[in-house]
Amino acid sequence: MRFRAKVVNIDCIHHFTNVVNTISKLLKKCSIRLTKEKMFFILPDQVANGGVSMWCELKQANFFDEYQMDGVNKNELNEIYLEIVAENLCRAIKSANNAKSLKIKLTKKQVPCLTVEIELPSLSSTARIVTHDIPVSVIPSALWGEYQEPEMPDFHVSLCLPPLKTVKHIVERLKNLSSYLTLSGNQEGDFALKVETELVSATTRFSDLEIPPYDPDGDSQAPSKLWPPSEMASARIDVKKLLQFLAGQQINPYKVICNIVDQSAVHFFLVHDDISLQYFIPVVAV
């Protein structure tokens, strides 16, 4: 198993830093899947996380100038799965704020490590080198089945959210009222965030939101086709999880698509040139 990648362009370094920062805000421990074409950050759906799951993939060619990966074996298992503490990676990459180059490689020190080597500009002729060794654990191929790309859920409603900053502001205020928030939307572009307690109920509504085009392969039985357009599909979720997702955003996606499965789950899909990030929040039982 071998992995080494190098980024030289400072913009790519910043971009990569943003991705890592966003991921580290969402989860503590993260799984990294490396293939020839792509790099994935995965958090599989587990009870321990409260049922949230995340899937982020990026095309390595858009970030790395050099990328060499040799997986477990050359044939079907030509991939590497690692588990890492996201915060460590975030901290390591933080050093690369104005780096000349960034190298990441898989090494074995006392334990398998992801070594991040950063070349910083310095006053002297030779650059300053900062090396971070982040301990990782290699996930055996037997468990790779748990890390598959989640299927697009059978959502009832799908809309593009208003600017995340606005939504974040609102959710921050609503968080003070209750720990659960109901997200609802309909196929006509209406979207609402509602918090309800014994004493008060507060709702913020948006309308005329864009509906992303999605044709579930002409399946006329798809839940979204059967759902009455003006009916609001809603899901009651934990406000902290939603806030975690909104607050950590540094990627600046074109759009954020929110898919609501009535009374079941909320699925956020961030669309960006080089990256796609999906985040699932399940409903909280009433």
Binding site: R91, S124, S125, I129, V130, T131
Partner: protein, 410 residues
């Protein structure tokens, strides 16, 4: 003592107080003929700071030696005093405010009311007066020989700040390895257990060209407390002077100093961890154990190892640096009440302080004659205590109580 600091220097003074507050509990004010010295030492005596503001920095400076109005109960002139840093920090709390509005700062030792008075005259006719209680004290002076250090590095504080920022903020200690061709700073963990292997390790490599002065007499590695260094670097940012680093080997203190000839001098003496290959044993233990006049205001007194009260806390014996041959890698529980153990030890990680009575004190010079056959152990994390001189390397540590007048029932 009466002195007046002009506005421009009050910020530096305030920042000095902030730095001292991060390290110790009390600041010792010592008005000398050359200027006003502020000193502190931390509770584990592994960090000592002495900042001297010389006469030219003051508008008015009167050390109080001739016209002395401040006397204590026995009608003796009070020349030195110490103030709790927590209280003093309240006076100089907001640096931004101080920079913006303070025009002068008067420091007065008022003998009648037994108060140290700080009067900040600010813009718009506002005057803030603070009366602080003080305690009389003896001179606090660490014994160290900066000029005899074989290794001297001098660089801009920015270089160090930029390097230190790469390390995790929770990291306690850092190791600096020097050789004629490079300097490597590495995160330090003193435990080889699995848990520690899970921590991220960071290493930064610097070229000697980054230093304005680079003199390496002895290739070595020293390990010291990073938290203290961060406090020092925060101060350097305001002082805006290059930093000099003097050190020798593990076990001897590392000294960071700033100097502006004739105006200002600051020395930060930080203890380093003694390693196997450097068995440093000085007889300077006597230096502070017999210092009965040393103020023991801190309940957990430096000098009081009262065996009767405190059970001997075994020190942690940890295997030495990875590069060296290891002695016994047995680990002992961390002492809880660390300060009280401090008496007759190998003083290497601690900073010997000069006191009133010194008996057979060997001054802690740059070069000590190591006494043979004495095991040297790595000390506990930020509480740098050396092991005792037991030849039988068992788990208990003999800490012998010195003679001390303050002892009750010993």
């Amino acid at each position: 003592m009466k002195c007046v600091l002009p506005g421009a220097n009050v910020k530096l003074f305030a920042k000095a107080i902030h730095c001292l507050a991060k390290l110790g509990h009390y600041v010792y004010f010592e008005p000398l003929d050359t200027g006003l010295a502020l000193k502190t030492v931390n509770s584990s005596r592994s960090a000592y700071v002495s900042i001297l503001f010389m006469k030219p920095m003051f508008q008015v400076y009167n050390a109080g030696s001739d016209v002395d109005l401040t006397v204590d109960d026995d009608n003796l002139p009070i020349s030195r005093c110490k103030v709790a840093l927590k209280t003093l920090l309240q006076v100089f709390k907001s640096l931004a405010n101080i920079e913006r509005s303070v025009e002068t700062c008067d420091i007065n030792l008022d003998g009648d009311e037994c108060r140290l008075v700080f009067q900040l005259k600010c813009k718009h006719g506002i005057t803030k007066t603070h009366h602080l209680t003080f305690q009389e004290c003896e001179s606090l002076q660490a014994v160290f020989a900066k000029d005899l250090s074989p290794n001297v590095l001098k660089c801009d504080h920015k270089v160090l700040s930029d390097v230190v920022i790469n390390f995790s903020s929770s990291l306690e200690e850092i190791t600096m390895l020097v050789s004629p061709c490079k300097v490597v700073l590495r995160s330090y963990s003193d435990d080889e257990s699995d848990e520690i292997a899970q921590l991220m390790k960071t290493e930064v490599c610097l070229n000697p060209e980054e230093f304005s002065e680079y003199q390496i007499g002895v290739d070595t590695d020293v390990t010291f407390c990073l938290k203290d260094v961060r406090a020092i670097l925060a101060f350097c940012e305001v002082a805006a002077m290059p930093v000099n680093i003097h050190f020798e080997v593990g076990g001897k203190p590392i000294i960071f100093s700033l100097e502006h000839n004739g105006y200002f001098r600051a020395n930060f003496v930080i203890a380093t961890i003694a390693t196997d290959k450097n068995s440093q044993h000085s007889n300077a233990t006597a230096n502070f154990t017999t210092n009965t006049t040393f103020p023991t205001t801190n309940k957990r007194s430096f000098v009081k190892p009262s065996r009767s009260k405190v059970a001997p806390k075994p020190l942690r014996k940890v295997s030495a640096q990875k590069t060296n041959a290891k002695p016994q890698p047995t680990k002992l529980p961390k002492p809880k009440d660390c300060d009280s153990i401090n008496s007759e030890h190998d003083v290497s990680p601690e900073i010997p302080l000069q006191g009133g009575e010194q008996t057979s004190a060997t001054r802690y010079e740059g070069f000590n004659s190591p006494s043979p056959e004495q095991p040297c152990f790595k000390s506990v994390k930020t509480v740098f205590f050396a092991a005792t001189q037991t030849n039988d390397l068992d788990h208990t540590v003999l800490v012998l109580a010195p003679d001390s007048d303050n002892e009750d029932g010993t």
